[in-house]
Structures are given as C-alpha cells and as structure tokens.
Amino acid sequence: MQCLGLAYAITPLLEKLYGKDPERLTRRTRRYLDCFNTNPYLAAAILGFLVHMESQSEEMGDQGLYLSSSLAGLYGAVGDNFFWNGLKPMTSAIAVMIFFWRPGLTAVLFLLLFYNLVHFGVRYIVYLSALHRGIGVLEKIDSLRLPLLRNIMGYVTTASLAVTTFLLVDYFNLKKGLGGNLAHLLVLLLVVGLWWRKKSGSKSSFNKQSEPV
C-alpha cells in the first residue's frame, strides 16, 4: 500500500516533467506503483532521493527506483529500530510516568510535542538532504547516529519504567495496610518476578498475539 502513497507524493513532479506527454506520464506513474515497503518516517529520505534522480532524467529515475528497493530495506531496519523500538517506547514511558506523578493533560502534551518535534525534525533533515545530495543522504543518516541514540533511549525508557513502578504504589493507594516501603518492595518484586518469568521463556497469561499479514 505504501507504493500508492509514493506514487501520490511524486505525481506533482511527474506532471511537471512529463505533463505534455500523457503516454510517458502514465508509464512513469506506473513505475512508481512497484512494491515498496519501508519505515514511514524514513520514507521521506527515499522520496527525496527519487525526486533528485527523476529530476535529472528518465534513465536516472529508473536507476533511482532500482536503488530505492535496497534503500527501503535498509531504512526500514534503521527506522523501525529507532522509531518503534526507541523513540515511541521512551516517549510513552515518560508520558505515563508524568501522568502517575501529576495526573493531568501535561502527559498528553508531552507525548505529542516531544515525539513530533523529533520525528518531524528527522523527516525534514533526511528529505532535504536526499533532495539535494541524492545517494549522499546515506552519509547524513549515518551522521545522525540513530543506533546510538536508540541505545540511550532504551536506558531512559528503563529508568522511566522503574520510576513508574514506584509511582503506581502511591497512585493506586497500595500503601494502605502495608506501609510505604513494603508496598513498594512488593510491587517491585512482582515486576521483577514477571519479567524474569517472561525472559525465561515461559508462556504467561499476559502474552499478547499479533496478526501476521
């Protein structure tokens, strides 16, 4: 389905380049309907790269499409790891921590503002870089050091989850009848116990299923 979005996004350029030759325009549009699957945020880099190549000539456009299938796999892996395994869990974990600390709309605002600031920033940088430098965008993405940032975000997520575990005791008033530190210790033991059980590979009741396409 992403190929339809790609064709939709590049249509204005194709109309500008081949608008006077409808047959050529149709042929070029069809070329962009080939299978395309990557991380939706880093797709901006591929779009910028394809615009860069197509603007030069039809042959370069074909070369761009050929290369983009390899780039899509690469950006899919890098982007999924950074955005879905790093940024999204970290932003959500901090937002939930904020909620259990000070219930209110601050958590929602933080989630929306922080995530979009980063994701639009990355989209903007990689699109412009690909548009101007073509395949040189690879160096730009490499210079962003997304895998390193993802590791740092992993530690921030873990720390936020630890604080949230602590805050749950106060929010749900679990201290009543147990005493402060004992309630905290019991919840921590519950989390660590379930974590260890899941890590050791045993199936637990909270394992959730996903639907393969």
């Binding site: 339809l4 999204k88 909620f99 989390v191 379930l194």
Partner: protein
Amino acid sequence: MWLDFSAFLWITLKVSLFGAFCALDRTALLQMMFSRPLVAATFAGALAGNWEIGLLLGATLELYFLSEIPVGTIIPTDDTLLAMAAGGVGAALSNLPQSQNRASGTLALLVLLTVLPWSAFTRKVDSWVRHKNGRLVDEVETALLAGPNLNRAQPSALNYHLHGLFNFYSASVVALGLMVMSSLLLVPLLLFLVPVWLQPLTDRLLFLFPVFGIVGLLSNMNQKRQLAVFAGVTTALLLF
C-alpha cells in the same frame, strides 16, 4: 438501574465518527501519535463528557500494548480502537447514578475487562482493511492502462489513494460503534453485580495493567545492563 439509551446511541455515534479520525493516524495518515491510547482515550473521554477517566484509561492502556511493535509484516493489536472505546464508555458511564458512589478505579477496571476481549477482532479488522487496500494498486494499474489520457489517468491514482484512507476510516467507525455500544450495555450490568465490599480491591486491581505493560516492555527491549539500570533507579528511589 436506569439507562438512557438515546444518550448511549448519541455517544456511540460521536465517539465512532470523530474517534475514527484518531484511528487514521495509526498507519494511514500522518502518524503523529494522536493514535496513542493516552491521547485517543482522553479525546474519546472528552467527546463523551469526562476526559479525566479517559486519561486514566489511556495511561493504563498506553504501556499495556507498547510491547507489540509493528516491525515488518506483523500487525499488532489496534490499541487505538480499544482505547477510544474504553475512554468513551468510561466517560459515558461515569455519569450514571450507580457509578456516582464508586471510585473511578472499579468503573475503569470493568470497562477494560469488557473492551480488551475485542483485541483479536481489531487485529482482524486491520488485517482485512490492509488486504482490501492491497488490491487498490491493481485497480490503479488497470485505470492507468485504460488509456494514456492525462485527465483520466492522473486523477485515478489520487482517488484510489484517498479510497484507501476511506476504507480505514469506515472500518474504524464500524468497529468502534460495535465495541462502544456493546460495552455501554454490558458494563452497567457488571457495575450492578460488583458488591460494595469488594470495591476497595477492584479499585486497586487496575494497577495490574500498567504492571503487565512495564513487564512486557522490559522483556522486549533486550538492552544490555537493563536490569542494572532498573535496579539502580528503584534502589535510589527506595533509599531517598
């Protein structure tokens, strides 16, 4: 027990029609995190008249499904639809007379227990829409091959692209409508059945959902020295 069915129908319509826009943000449009449970449930709660309980349900669900990552061809549970339904139902029922003398924890727990069984259904709906949209590419190709006429060929690509969005929207409206209406009818009955003496326990049981979410996320991250960071932070908090 008195239920205002016309109000329920109105809330179902409002949450389904407006909430489905949040569902579009999930994969089909923008992906600006309006589809995260924390945001979606708060919005649904505001639509149904009580954003606070929507926010509570959203925060509870936010971590719960976070360990399901949409990597490759895996379609995770549609937590947006579940959160919208939960937020809308929770907010609508928080105004009922039988909810007035109870803390929001029990109501939120019962809402989650009625909404979460729809998880498999949301995955099926998502998968079905994706299959349907996958066929749109062939339709665009056919339209383009029909003739090299600029006026016919170019708008067809545009229209089919928007058709894919419409498929996502309409499937979300129907799924949300079903979930909200069924839960609006079921939860008041469950509220009636929960004895008051059990309430201190049911109010607190909600904390298990964030705990399961935290465990799921920690297990999925596979980070080096993760346990050391977790233990360090918790020890520091316990000591200070």
